[in-house]
């Protein structure tokens, strides 16, 4: 692609190149969702600079990237979303009927933050989930990072959150 210099990481460009191969040459736009996913994977959110870099890399106008990025709820546009873990509790109809409000309340109490906020230690981002995640049969459910967890109870939530937290802290220890 035309971009000679880019702030995209090697991992991101590799991923994008892999997708680009699947589409005709002048259809950079087709690789856009995947490109943004690659950036999300690295940064946990899409900064304007990265979106601009994706636009340049794919030969799209910047606004075309913003449009897509702001449309899908799987993309986060604010830096605060760049926590180590992302929690998304579905509050759509089936989950709501099966008690998602309690789950939300429980998480908010446990972490001391509201939906849409990030814990001060940067461990958790509690996303506002607006749409059904298509796991109604296991309602109430949440998505923790990339994994679906169904039939939630407060206990189960504790276990899951503590599980990822300890792993994260462990990792931190290894590093230091």
């Amino acid at each position: 692609m035309a971009a000679t210099q880019t702030i995209l990481t090697k991992h991101e460009t590799d991923e994008i190149d892999m997708w680009l191969k699947r589409f005709p040459e002048d259809r950079g736009q087709s690789a856009l969702l995947a490109a943004l996913r690659a950036v999300m994977h690295e940064d946990h959110y899409l900064s304007t600079e990265k979106m601009d870099a994706v636009a340049d890399y794919l030969g799209l106008s910047k606004i075309a990237v913003y449009e897509v990025a702001s449309f899908y709820s799987m993309y986060e546009l604010e830096e605060k979303a760049a926590a180590k873990n992302t929690i998304a509790v579905c509050t759509n109809i089936s989950c709501m009927l099966n008690g998602s409000d309690n789950i939300v309340e429980h998480i908010e109490e446990k972490l001391g933050i509201k939906m849409g906020e990030t814990t001060p230690d940067g461990e958790f981002f509690f996303k506002i989930e607006e749409e059904c995640l298509a796991a109604c049969c296991g309602a109430p459910m949440m998505q923790l990072n990339h994994v679906y967890h169904e039939n939630l109870t407060p206990e189960k939530v504790d276990e899951l959150l503590d599980g990822v937290r300890s792993k994260a802290s462990l990792k931190n220890k290894e590093v230091s």
Partner: protein
């Protein structure tokens, strides 16, 4: 044509039988038959979005109302646009559209000319079933030209489609989703497109309005006068809006043959310059270095005295090609009748060697609308996108239709379409680049090379890849070679022109000139060139050209609407000539400091929109306009000033009553003018020294908003384009000067400004430096006509830059 050959289908709208082209959209067919269907998102020049649903109509056998903008007509279709079902659908749509629309019409600039307001009068209900909170959209500043109030947006996406389909650069978009979808730029950014202002015209509501005229007056208080834009050789049709006889706004007028329904930002917002601080109110004469206001007859008598007390050989007459045809003709006729032969309008031209070979006037050689149908185009020294945005629109259409676009320029330019072959080289090399293409055209067309070109051709080598230019042109049925304004300012213009002629001739292409000003063609036809009288007739005595008049001082200068330090190729030289002259007479709406210090008599003329007149555009169309605004103080239309001057000089046949009389006289004389551009080539005249490795070469084509006195005073446009006042180098060249980490042209939020000293001749000027990697090595882009360049020398020539 009859119905049977299936060219047409017959449909019925509201019981009226209508013939229509099969496949065309219902709304189009209805429009052509004057049946009005309400709409918001539909625009005849844009793709169909069908998202507003305002155009729902009742179609027989359809289970529900259909959107007329997205319903193709079929044989036998029966449609009602005002049946109960149609009206209910339209009313309901209206209610939905108004759910989130604020009730701020009393403070909205669009009020009174708002499509939403009009249609809600027609279809809206007095009450709404929606009692919840309306949504609010937080605005972003999108620059100096377009004001936003996005809470008012009804998301028709006209502005978004305009960006993508017409401007060729997407700047507005729809971000977010559902009821939170917003139209805008998403990030804070100024619109960059040279035609961005058109979104003001197409926005059906008050979401996008003109920033400079915001809150100046209400739509119903303004008078509308059709007129012609004055900044490029297109002559876009505009409507001037005046409030209490003052020009407050300009919008596009439709003319399919010329500007379709768009205008450039320059043509839309330049009107601000009319009311600049330095307008002249009264005639003035300088006595012993002190200006005194005088009455008209004193001023004119003095002018006559000055013009008659010297020999005609010592008089130089220079005019702006933005002056009207009438003004230019009266100037020429009166001056030639007192024996003055030195008369010219080509102040930015340097190389006059082949002026005889222009024909009656350098023309487009075709109709503007025909550009769309070209299959291949070679642009030689032309930044057409900024210089003639509406011509660029046509080229863009051709490109989208598959035409091959090629160009040879002294810097890489941003086009809003794909360019198939582009050669960029410094201005001197550019001649060789073009020579290579020309040589290929001789070889490929098996034409004998004229002796005059031999030397140049033997000095260049032809590679295989260079043949593509000539090959494309030869292979195309409709092809053209465009000579742009950069070429005309080029010190080797006659050579570039000879080569362009050769290429055009050998490849069977049309030679098309894209001249600089709105009335360049008119200036030629009026005889404001030293070698031709009106209508292209040979002059009895060939006078001095603009370059000669400014390099060797004449005793008396007569200037029409000119600011020599900004309008001529070499401001230093022009000022030196003025300094030594005995008398300078200026017919001008404005008097800046330089003019006040140089001139001796100032005759205040009416500015743009304050006078009637005619412009002849590049294709040769004569477009007349009336005055729309009251002229300032005692300023008079220049044609009247010149007519009285002519009377005082006892010129015969000078008793015109209106500008129309003048036009008619000239038009009669021009009846048989041929607007074909000659393409015969004998040889070349100008040789340029190579750019030496020591120095920098200036590329000084006219800035986007610095070409004439009016646009230079248009404050919003000036603010919107700070880059044109900077000197620009590529990063490598800047590094050679020891400069690093510099702001670039496209980074509008650059925090620091880096100033450098630019030296040309003896003068050093400090100005900001920007990095632009589109500029070749050893070159610096520094636009003409700007404030900083008004102290410098020739637009193309050596300069020095020091950190």
């Amino acid at each position: 044509m009859s119905n049977t050959d299936k060219q047409f289908v017959t449909i019925t709208i509201n019981d009226k039988e209508i013939e229509a082209v099969p496949g065309s959209m219902l709304i189009d067919v209805a429009d052509k038959s004057d049946i009005h269907i309400p709409r918001f998102c539909y625009h005849k020049k844009l793709s169909v979005a069908a998202n507003c649903r305002m155009c729902l109509v009742d179609v027989e056998k359809a289970p529900k109302p259909l959107p007329a903008c997205a319903t193709p007509v079929n044989e036998g279709m029966v449609v009602w646009t005002k049946s109960e079902r149609a009206l209910t659908a339209q009313k309901d749509t209206m209610e939905f559209l108004l759910i989130n629309h604020p009730l701020d019409c009393p403070i909205c600039d669009q009020g009174g000319e708002c499509e939403l307001q009009d249609l809600s009068m027609e279809f809206g209900s007095g009450t709404s079933n929606f009692h919840e909170m309306k949504r609010v959209v937080v605005d972003k500043d999108i620059g100096e030209l377009v004001a936003t109030e996005m809470t008012r947006c009804i998301q028709c996406t006209r502005c978004v489609r305009f960006g993508e389909e017409i401007a060729g650069m997407r700047e507005m978009g729809a971000t977010g989703r559902g009821d939170r979808m917003e139209i805008g730029t998403f990030v804070e950014k100024s619109l960059d497109s040279e035609i961005s202002g058109n979104i003001i015209d197409i926005c059906p509501v008050g979401a996008l309005t003109a920033k400079p005229s915001r809150y100046h007056s209400r739509a119903w208080e303004m008078m509308q006068t059709p007129s012609i834009a004055s900044h490029d050789c297109v002559g876009s049709n505009v409507k001037l809006h005046t409030f209490k006889k003052k020009l407050v706004r300009v919008i596009a007028a439709e003319n399919e043959d010329i500007n379709e329904c768009w205008i450039s930002d320059r043509d839309r917002f330049s009107y601000q310059g009319v009311y600049a601080d330095d307008r002249v109110e009264k005639p003035m004469i300088k006595y012993n270095g002190i200006w005194k206001e005088v009455d008209w007859s004193t001023a004119l008598d003095r002018t006559v005295e000055k013009l008659t007390e010297v020999s005609a050989k010592d008089i130089a007459v220079l005019a702006s090609a933005r002056a009207t045809l009438e003004e230019l003709y009266l100037l020429q006729k009166s001056m030639r009748s007192i024996g003055v032969a030195n008369i010219d309008h080509r102040l930015r031209q340097v190389d006059f060697n082949d002026q005889e070979s222009s024909g009656a006037y350098p023309s487009l050689g075709m109709k503007i609308a025909d550009i769309e149908n070209l299959d291949s185009i070679l642009l030689v020294g032309s930044n057409v996108r900024k210089e003639q945005p509406m011509i660029n629109q046509r080229i863009r259409k051709a490109a989208l239709n598959g035409a091959k676009i090629m160009c040879v320029n002294p810097l890489e330019l941003d086009f809003n379409y794909d360019v198939d072959a582009q050669r960029v080289s410094n201005p001197v090399e550019m001649i060789k680049t073009l020579a290579i293409i020309a040589k290929a055209s001789y070889i490929l067309s098996k034409t004998e090379i004229p002796a005059g070109l031999n030397d140049l051709f033997t000095s260049v080598r032809l590679n295989k890849a260079d043949k593509v230019f000539a090959e494309n042109l030869i292979a195309s049925k409709n092809s053209a070679v465009f000579l742009g304004s950069i070429s005309m300012q080029h010190p080797g213009y006659s050579t570039l022109r000879a080569l362009s002629k050769a290429i055009a001739g050998n490849t069977g292409s049309t030679l098309a000139y894209l001249s600089g000003a709105s009335n360049s063609a008119g200036a030629w036809l009026a005889g404001v060139v030293p070698h031709q009288k009106e209508a292209g007739q040979k002059a009895d005595i060939i006078g001095k050209n603009a370059g000669e008049m400014l390099s060797k001082t004449k005793k008396v200068y007569m200037l029409l609407d000119l600011e020599l330090e900004r309008d001529s190729d070499n401001p230093q030289q022009a000022k030196a000539a003025m300094n030594q002259a005995d008398t300078i007479i200026a017919v001008t709406p404005y008097a800046n400091k330089t003019l006040l210090s140089l001139a001796d008599i100032i005759l205040p003329s009416a500015a743009y929109a304050e006078t009637s007149g005619t412009y002849v555009n590049a294709e040769g169309t004569w477009q007349s306009f009336k005055a729309a605004a009251k002229s300032y103080g005692e300023a008079r239309p220049a044609w009247k000033i010149l007519r009285v001057l002519g009377n005082k000089l006892d010129v015969k046949g000078f008793d015109y009553v209106s500008s129309k009389d003048v036009r008619n006289e000239l038009q009669g004389l021009c009846e048989n003018v041929n607007n074909e551009n000659p393409v015969s080539v004998e040889g070349i005249y100008t040789k340029l020294d190579d750019v030496t490795s020591q120095s920098l070469y200036r590329i000084g084509n006219v800035g986007e908003f610095s070409g004439d006195s009016l646009v230079r005073r248009a404050t919003a446009l000036q603010k919107s384009n700070p880059e044109q006042n900077a000197v620009q180098l590529n990063a490598k060249q800047a590094a050679l000067l020891g400069l690093k980490d510099l702001p670039t042209v496209d980074n509008e939020h650059a925090e620091k400004e880096v100033m450098v000293d630019v030296k040309q001749g003896e003068v050093v000027v400090s100005m900001p430096l920007l990095i632009n990697d589109n500029i070749p090595d050893k070159c610096a882009l520094l636009a003409s006509g700007t404030k900083s360049s008004s102290l410098l020398g020739s637009a193309f020539g050596e300069i020095e830059i020091t950190a």
